[in-house]
């Protein structure tokens, strides 16, 4: 157990998991409360614009359904990111398929644009978003996991299904691109 900011001992994720297994529903609430915002930020940084709450909810439902397969080799948050990323990929594949069959209408562009305008309030956020858009999907995932979530290369490699070396390369290429983009703006 680690001390909480209030001085109370804070239960680890594994302790909360064991409590939930023992039938304590409040442990699930603690776990969801602890990790849900990080999952939402990761989804938004990775380019998700709509249905982020549903995505986070699906991530937790799947994670709790297969919690017996979580052995604690990585942190729970890293494991959750991995599940969420797979769900995002599934969602994108489904969207691609539907785009191939259903023609995109003009109103779709307008509504997407309006939603983006609403999401990004500050100028700095707009600049950062644009710089992240200049990255490849994998570079963006690696960069945001490293900079915004503070994950190690080992954890990032686990989430994106790659190696630590590849994650390092993606990070260095990403920071170079972002730096140049922000300098030019």
């Amino acid at each position: 157990m680690t001390p909480s900011p209030e001085g109370r001992p804070q239960e680890t994720d594994m302790e909360l998991i064991n409590r939930w297994r023992a039938g304590d529903g409040r442990a699930a609430t603690r776990l969801v409360g602890r990790h849900s915002q990080a999952l939402a930020r990761f989804a938004a940084s990775a380019g998700e614009r709509e249905g982020i709450e549903e995505l986070v909810q699906d991530t937790f439902v799947r994670a709790f359904a297969s919690l017996d397969s979580f052995r604690g080799a990585s942190t729970l948050r890293t494991w959750l990111f991995t599940i969420e990323r797979r769900l995002m990929l599934d969602r994108r594949r489904a969207e691609r398929r539907s785009r191939e069959t259903v023609p995109v209408e003009e109103t779709d562009h307008v509504s997407e644009y309006g939603a983006l305008d609403g999401l990004i309030a500050e100028e700095a956020q707009e600049r950062v978003r644009k710089s992240l858009d200049a990255l490849s999907p994998t570079q963006r995932e690696v960069f945001t996991l490293r900079v915004q979530q503070g994950l190690s290369y080992k954890e990032i490699a686990e989430v994106v299904g790659s190696t630590e070396g590849a994650a390092r390369v993606h990070y260095h290429n990403a920071i170079k691109t972002v730096k140049e983009f922000l300098k030019d703006e």
Partner: protein
């Protein structure tokens, strides 16, 4: 501005932002930052990106938790105790042995009715006489009587295998045997017949 060559420090910059460095590492990075413009610039970029995190909606925790089924309803279907799995394997192995063993018994018993037919009962007696010429010490050619192999009776194809073991037969016996074989009926079709057990050795 010179490009920084200390890749270790470059890689630790995000950890510095997240206060994830040990005391010694933090001091080393801060010392380096005091003299390296490139790393200072990198750190500024990282701070901007971190503080300007893309907007994400706040998550309704209770709503998410309501969708999670209780642990008890998930577990039983997922994993069975190891002992149950071992027992299942033993049952499967026993069944396999019974099926294979029974199959071989059936195969053998399928062959036996044929050997009970009068046609095959005569064969050992008739053919058994020919190899007598192979007995050691026997120098006189043995003439196989015509009654031994009757052309009107078609021998089983495997009976011919006996003739293949005729190295010790004299020329006369072989000629006689071949003449007798000319009188055999045609072999049955392509369908294989069950193996006929023929006494070898003592009865010959």
């Amino acid at each position: 501005m010179n490009k920084c060559t200390d890749s270790d420090v470059q890689e630790m910059l995000p950890d510095l932002l997240h206060r994830a460095l040990a005391e010694g590492e933090r001091l080393r990075v801060e010392e380096h930052l005091a003299t390296c413009e490139s790393c200072q610039e990198d750190l500024d970029v990282l701070r901007t990106v971190k503080s300007a995190a893309v907007f994400a909606p706040s998550i309704d925790v209770d709503r998410v938790v309501r969708q999670i089924p209780p642990y008890r309803t998930i577990v039983p279907a997922v994993e069975r105790p190891a002992r149950t799995r071992v027992v299942s394997w033993l049952v499967a192995a026993s069944l396999a042995i019974v099926v294979l063993g029974g199959g071989s018994v059936l195969l053998q018993s399928n062959g036996s009715p044929a050997s009970n037919s009068p046609r095959y009962q005569q064969l050992p007696n008739r053919i058994a006489k020919a190899p007598e010429a192979t007995k050691p010490g026997s120098t006189e050619p043995v003439v196989v009587p015509m009654a031994v192999v009757q052309p009107s009776i078609a021998p089983h194809p495997h009976a011919l295998a006996l003739a293949a073991d005729a190295d010790g037969l004299s020329d006369g016996s072989l000629v006689q045997l071949m003449n007798d074989m000319d009188g055999f009926d045609a072999l049955p079709g392509s369908e294989l017949d069950p193996v006929i057990s023929v006494d070898s050795g003592d009865s010959l």
